[in-house]
Amino acid sequence: MNGILNWILWLPIIGMVGVLLTPKAKDNVVRMVTLVTTAITLILTVVLYMNFDTAEPGIQFAFKVPWIAQFHINYSLGIDGITLPMTFLNALLFFICTLSSWTVDKNVKGYFALLLMLQSTVFGVFFSLDFFLFYVYWEVMLLPMFFLIGVWGGENREYAAIKFFLYTFFGSIFMLVGIVALYYATGKSEDSFNIIALQGGRFTELTLDIFGSTVSFEKLFFWFMFLGFAVKVPVFPFHTWLPHAHVQAPTAVSVILAGVLLKMGTYGFLRIAFPIFPAAAVEYSTIIAVLGLISVIYGAFCAMAQDDVKKLVAYSSVSHMGFVMLGLSAMTIQGMNGAVLQMFNHGTSTAMMFLLIGILYERSHHRWIVKPDGSKGFGGLYTTLPKYSVVFIIGMFASLGLPGLSGFISEALIFLGIYQRFTTITVIAVVGLLIGAAYLLWMFKRMFFGEVNPECEEYEDMNAREIFYMVPLCICVVVFGIFPSPLLNVMKASVGQLVDLLAKFS
C-alpha cells in the first residue's frame, strides 16, 4: 500500500507524457487521455480513503528513499488526517476541471499537459514530508500556473501571471532561508529536512544574535515561514495578487487556484509553521487572528463593491480564507477542525462558483454584473437558465454558509474555536458573515431576478457535460453539510495531536 502515494503523485506526469506524445490535431485524444488520468487518480484517492486508519493521528502510507544523502535530503512522502481531505479535493477538482476545460481549443496539448503537471506538483506539496522536496514542489507549482494563466488567460494575463509568480516567489524565497536555517539549527543531522522530525518545538530554546542583539531563533524564523505561506493563503496585506490572477485565469485554473492552491498556504501553517515553531505560533496567534479578521472583513467589503462577478468571488475567497486563518489562530479543536473543514468546504463551494461563472462566460463572453457603461450585464437569468440557477443557488448558499450546506458547519466551528481566545474578534467577525451574505445575494439578485435582459435571451441552459461535472460538487456541498462526520472523523485525530502540541506551549 505504501507505493500508492507514488502512483497518485506520478500518474499525472505519466499522463502528461502521454498527452505530449499524442500527435498534433488529435485534440479529443488529448482530452480523453487527461480525463482518464485524472479519473484514475481520483479512484486511487478513494482507495486511499478506504485504507486510511482514522484512529491513527500520525503519518500513514509513508514512503521514503534517500535523495541527496550528503544533505540528508530524502524523497519521503506520507499523509495524515489533514492531508487526506486536501488530496481528495485535489483529485476531484482536477477531474472536474478536465471536463470543464473540454471547450478549450487554443493549443490544447500544451494546456492539458500543464494541467496534469500542475496536479502532480500540488500532490507533491501535500504529500512531501521532506522540507527540501516540499520547497521544490512548492516552487515548481508556479511554472505551470505561470503559463496557464499567461497563455490561456484573459486580456491582461501577462500582468496577472507575473504578479502571481513574483508574489509567491518573494514569499517562498524567505521560506527557503528558513529551511536552510533549520538545516543548520539541527546540526545537519539525519532529520534536518524531515518535516515530521522537526516538529514538536525543538527550537524553543535556541537563540542567535544578529547585529549584536539576541533573537529567539524560533520567533525569527516563524515569520520567515509565515511570509512564505501567508502570501499563498492569501492573508490581508499580501492578497492583491489574487483578484488579478483569478480574473485573468481561465475557468479551470481559477477553480484550481481557489480550490486547492490557496489551501496549500493554510496547509503549510498546519504542517510546518505551527508544529515546527509552536511557541512562536502560540505567541503570535493574536496577530494571525487580527490579520485573519482583517481579511474577512476587508475581503467582504471589497467583494461587495465589485462589478465583475469573478472578481467578486475572488475577493470572497480572501474573506473565506480569512475564516480559515481565524480558525487556525484559535488553536482549539473546534477552531482547527473548523479550519481544515473550511479548507475543504471552501474548495468545493468556490469551485462551484468559479465553474458556474465559467459556464456563464462561455455564453455571454463577459462577466459584468454592471457593465462599465452602467447598464446591467445580466438579468432574468433565472427565467432563461433554470437548471443553471438551481445549481448556482446551491453553490452560493453553500459559500454564504446556509445551515444544511457545507459552509455553515465549518464557519460555526471556527467561531466556536475562536470565541474563548479572542472574544472581541469573534464579535467583529460575525459582520463578515453578514456582508458575505449581502454581496452574494445582491449579486444573485442583480443577475438572476427581474426582467430578462435581451442579451441573455438566447443563452442555452447547462448541457449534459456541465451538469455531469457539477453534480459531484453539489453532492459534496449537501452531503458534507448534513453529515460532516466522514471528513471530521478523518481529520480529528491529527488535528487533536496538533492542538495538544500547541497547548503545551500556551
Binding site: 488579478h244 467561531f415 470565541y419 464579535v427 453578514l434 449581502a438 439578485k445 431576478f449 427581474g450 495538544d500
Partner: protein, 735 residues
Amino acid sequence: MQYTVGSIAPIFLSPVIAFVINAFFGRKLPRNGDWLAVLSIFISFVFSARIFGDFFFGQFATDYYIHKTFTWFDLSAGTHVFKVDMGIYLDNMSSIMLLMVSGVAFLIHLFSTWYMDHDERHGRFFVFLPLFTSAMLGLVLSDNLFSLFLFWEIMGFCSYSLIGIYYEKEKAGDASLKAFMTTRVGDVFLLLGIVAIWMVVGSVNYVDIYAAIAQGKFDGPAVLGISFATFTALCIFAGAMGKSAQFPLHVWLPDAMMGPTPGSALIHAATMVTAGVWVSLRMYPLMVLGDITWFIAVIGAITAFGAATIAMVQTDIKAVLAYSTLSQLGYMMIGVGVGSYNAAFMHVITHAFFKACLFLSAGSIIHSVHEQEMPKLGGLKKYLPYTHFAMMCCTLAIAGIPFFSGFVSKDRILGDALYFGFMAGQNPLLAIVPILGFAGAGLTAFYMFRMMFLTFYGENRTHDSHGHGHGHKDDHGHHGHGHEIHHEHLDFRSNVPLLILAVFTLGFWFAGNVVGQNFGNVFGGKNEWFKILVEAPKVEKFVDRPKQAFSSVDTKGEIVLPHAHYHHQSGYAGPNPDEHKLHTAHVIGAWLSIFIAFSGVFIAFLMYIKKSVKPLAEKFPGITEMLKAKYNFDHFYIDILIKKGLLGLNRFLAWLDMGIYDRYVIDGMAAVNRVLFKASKWFDNVVIDAIGVDGTGVTVNLFNLVLRIVQSGKIQFYFIMLVMVLASYIWTLNI
C-alpha cells in the same frame, strides 16, 4: 408512558421526504406532487395531535418533558472532548406549538392546492412549502439552540425562495433580498450568542442552560463591557427581533408579501415570524437573568403601535394584514417582556389561527377578483359569503372583541402590561408600554374594520376600474383580465380551511373565562388549560437531571424563577407580582380594552359605512403622508445606510485596494525602478552631458540614479570612481 423517537420523528421527517421527492421528481408526479405535500403534513398533524392529546388529557404531570439526544458529530480526539448533540425536547408548550403548526400548515397546504392551480410556479411552491414546514416543526422539536439555529436559517431560505418565487418581477428580487438580509442581521447575532453560550456554559441544550442558570454557573467574561448574561440575552433577542420583525428590523415583513398569499399566510403570518417569540420564550430565564425583559417590552410596544398606525393608511389588503401581523408580533413581545408568559404564547397560537385565516381569505379574494387594492374592491359580501364570514370572525378576534380568541390572549397581555407599567414598581418611564399597547389595540380594531368595510361592504367598485395596470398588483402571474368575480372557482379546498380556521377564532377554545370572570366549565377542570400547561421554565428542576441518549426523562421540582415566583392564578411571571394588584390590573385592563376596541370599530363604522366622518386621509393629510411613507425607514436603510454608507465604504476600500495599495505599494517595487530609470535617463542626457562628468553626480542620492550616472559611458569617470572607491576603502581602514 414513554415516547420512542419513532413516534416523534415522523412529525419532522414526513415533510422532509415530501420535499425531497417533490424537489427531484415533482415535475414527473401528477399535479407536481402537491397532494404528496398535503399528505405529508397531514401525517405530521396526526402524530402531533396524538402527542398533544397525551399531554392535554393529563397523561403526564404538567411539568413533564421528554428529552432525547443523539450525537450529530464528534470532534473528540485524545484529551479533547467536543460533541455536537442534536435532540428532541418535548414539553407542554412544544406539544401545543406542534399541533398549531402542523394543523395550520395542513390547512394552508390544502388551500394552496386550490390557490396555486394553473400557476406556473405550482411545482416550485410545493417544493419549498413542505421544506419550510419541516424546518418549523424541527425548530419546535429541537432541544438546543444550535439545531434551532439550523432550522431557523433553513426557514429563512424558504422564505427567501417563496418571496422571490415570481423572480421575473424586479420587486420580488428586492423583497426577497431585503427579507433575507434583514433577518440575517439578527441571525448572525443569534449565532454569536449561541457560540458564546456554548463555549462558556459548555452546551446549548435548553436543559443545560436552565441548569446553569439555576446553579448560577451562567456567567462568563464580560463582552464589550456588557455582562455575559446580558450580552447573550441581547444576542438571542436580536435574532428574535430579526425573525419576528421587531422594530427596527421590521422593514422586511411588509415587502415579504410579494410571495403568493398562502405562503405569506403560513410563513409570514402564522409560523415563521413567531419563531422569534418562540425562542424568546424558550430562553425566558436567560432574558430575566440578563435583565433585558423591559427592553423586550419596549421594543414590542413600539412595534405594536407603530405598525398599527401604518396599517391605518394602507390600501393594499395584504399590506394591511402584513402590518397587522407586525403589530400583533409586537403584542407577543410585550407579553414576553412584561412576563405575561403563557398569555404571550397563547397569543402566538390564537394569532396563528386568525391571521392565517385572514390571509387565506385575502388570498381567495385576490384569486377571485384579481385585485388587492381595497379602494377598488367593496361589496364583495354577496359574492364571497364564506370568505366574508371567516374574515369577519378573524377580524373580531384580532380587534379584541370579547368571546373571541384574540381578546383572551391580548387582554391578558395588556393586563399584565398595565401591572408591569404602573404597579410593579418599575421605572416610571416603562408606563409607555401599556399606553402604547392599549392605543395600538384601538388602532387595530379601527384598521381591521376599515379593511372589512372597504372590502365587503358598500357598493362594488371592481367594475369601474379598467383592465390595464392592475395585473401587476396581483401577486399572481396573472395579468388583470377584467374583474369579473370567479366565485364559481371557489370549492371546498378554498372554503373548508377558512371555515375551520374561523372556528378556532372563538375564545373558549383557549380559556373558559373569556371576560376575565370564570363562568362556564368548558374543559372539565381544565378551564385554564393554557395556564396549567404553559408555565415559564422552572429552572430549578433541571439542576440534577439524568442525561442519557434516547431515553425520556421525567422530573419534577420546585417552581422557582430567578427573580419572581410564577403566579398560578394570573399566569404572570414578571417582576414582583402581587395577588391583589394583579387582579385589579386585569379587571381594569379587560374593560379598558373592550371599550377601546369597540370605540375603534365605531370610528371605522362612522368613517366607511356611515361616511359621516371624513376618512383619515382627508382629515390629517400630513400624518397620512408620513404614515404612507412608513416613517421613511426603507428610505433611511436602503438609500442612506446601504447605498451611501456601506456601498460607499466598499467602493472606497476596493479603490484603495486595487487603485492605491496594489498599484503603488505592491507594483511600486518595480515601478520605482521604472520611474528612476526614466528620471536618470533625463539626468544622463541633461546633467551629465551638459556639465560633463565630475564628482557632482555622486552627490545625487537616488540609488538607481547614481548607478545610471556611473554607467554614463565616460571612461574617465570610471577611473575617478575607481580611485575614489579605493581611497574610501583605505579611509575605512582608518590608519
